[in-house]
C-alpha cells in the first residue's frame, strides 16, 4: 500500500544576516520532516515571492521577519502582509536582536508575535519553540506530534 506523506508546513523567513539564516535553518532541521523553511534576504524578496504564488496551493503557516533589514524592514513587511487579504491572518513573528518594548507593541498591534534572537546556544531551541508557538494550534500540534514520532 502506498501512503502519501502529509504536506509540510511552510515557514517563510526574511533576514539580511546570512549567519542568522544559517542558525535558524539549522535549528529547524529537527523539524525538517514536517516543516519547509524558505528564506529571503529582505522584505521585498519575501513579498515578491508571495505575489507570485497561488494562495490556494501555497499557504505559509508562519512568517518570521527580522526587524532590521535593508530595502524593506520587518515592520513594514508585516504591515504590507496584513494588507494582503489571503495572508492577513497568517501568524507572523517579528524577530530581533533587541528587545525594544516599542517593537513588541508594534507586533502586538498587527496581531504578530515578537521574539528576541538567541544570545547563546541554550536559547536557540527554546526560541525556535517560542516561534512555533505562534503557529495555529492545528499546525503546532502537527509539527510537534509528527516530529516526536519521527525522532
Amino acid at each position: 500500500m502506498t501512503q502519501s506523506l502529509p504536506p509540510k508546513s511552510l515557514v517563510l523567513y526574511a533576514d539580511d544576516d546570512p549567519e542568522d539564516i544559517e542558525l535558524v535553518s539549522e535549528a529547524f532541521q529537527s523539524y525538517a520532516q514536517n516543516v519547509e523553511l524558505l528564506t529571503f534576504s529582505d522584505g521585498i524578496e519575501l513579498l515578491n515571492f508571495i505575489e507570485t504564488v497561488d494562495p490556494f496551493h501555497v499557504s505559509p503557516c508562519l512568517f518570521i521577519l527580522d526587524i532590521n533589514m535593508p530595502r524593506l524592514n520587518g515592520k513594514e513587511t508585516l504591515r504590507r502582509l496584513r494588507r494582503i487579504e489571503s495572508f492577513a491572518e497568517v501568524p507572523a513573528v517579528l524577530f530581533s536582536t533587541s528587545s525594544l518594548p516599542a517593537d513588541a507593541a508594534f507586533a502586538k498591534n498587527l496581531n504578530a508575535g515578537f521574539v528576541t534572537k538567541p544570545l547563546h546556544t541554550h536559547q536557540v531551541h527554546l526560541i525556535i519553540d517560542e516561534i512555533i508557538d505562534h503557529c495555529s494550534d492545528e499546525v503546532k500540534k502537527n509539527i510537534r506530534r509528527k516530529n516526536r514520532n519521527g525522532n
Binding site: E19, L23, S98, S99, L100, P118, L119, Q123, V124
Partner: protein, 93 residues
C-alpha cells in the same frame, strides 16, 4: 512601580548566566563586526555597553567586554540606528 536600571558595576557583579539573561531581555542591539574570524556583537544596556565576543556565533560566547565609554561605538558607527538608541534612552530615564 518603576524598575531601577542596572548599573555597570551591578551588571559586572552578576553571575555570567544572569548577565546573559539580562542582556537578552533588555539589551538593545547596536551592531555586529568581525575581527580575526570572530563575530562580535555590541549591545547597549541601560547606560553602558556590552560587547559579546563569540567563539561560535549565537552559540558559544567566548567573553564579554563592558564599558560606559562611548569610544566602544567607534567600529559600529556606520551601523548605528540612532533613532532606536534614542528611543531606548528615553525609556530608561
Amino acid at each position: 512601580m518603576t524598575k531601577k536600571a542596572l548599573s555597570l558595576t551591578e551588571f559586572i557583579d552578576l553571575p555570567q548566566e544572569l548577565q546573559f539573561e539580562v542582556l537578552h531581555k533588555h539589551g538593545v542591539y547596536v551592531g555586529k563586526r568581525k575581527a580575526d574570524k570572530q563575530t562580535i556583537v555590541l549591545f547597549q544596556l541601560h547606560g553602558f555597553y556590552v560587547e559579546v565576543y563569540y567563539r561560535q556565533y549565537r552559540k558559544i560566547i567566548d567573553h564579554v567586554i563592558t564599558s560606559d565609554n562611548a569610544d566602544i561605538l567607534q567600529p559600529y558607527l556606520d551601523q548605528i540606528n540612532v533613532r532606536g538608541l534614542n528611543d531606548n534612552n528615553e525609556k530608561n530615564r
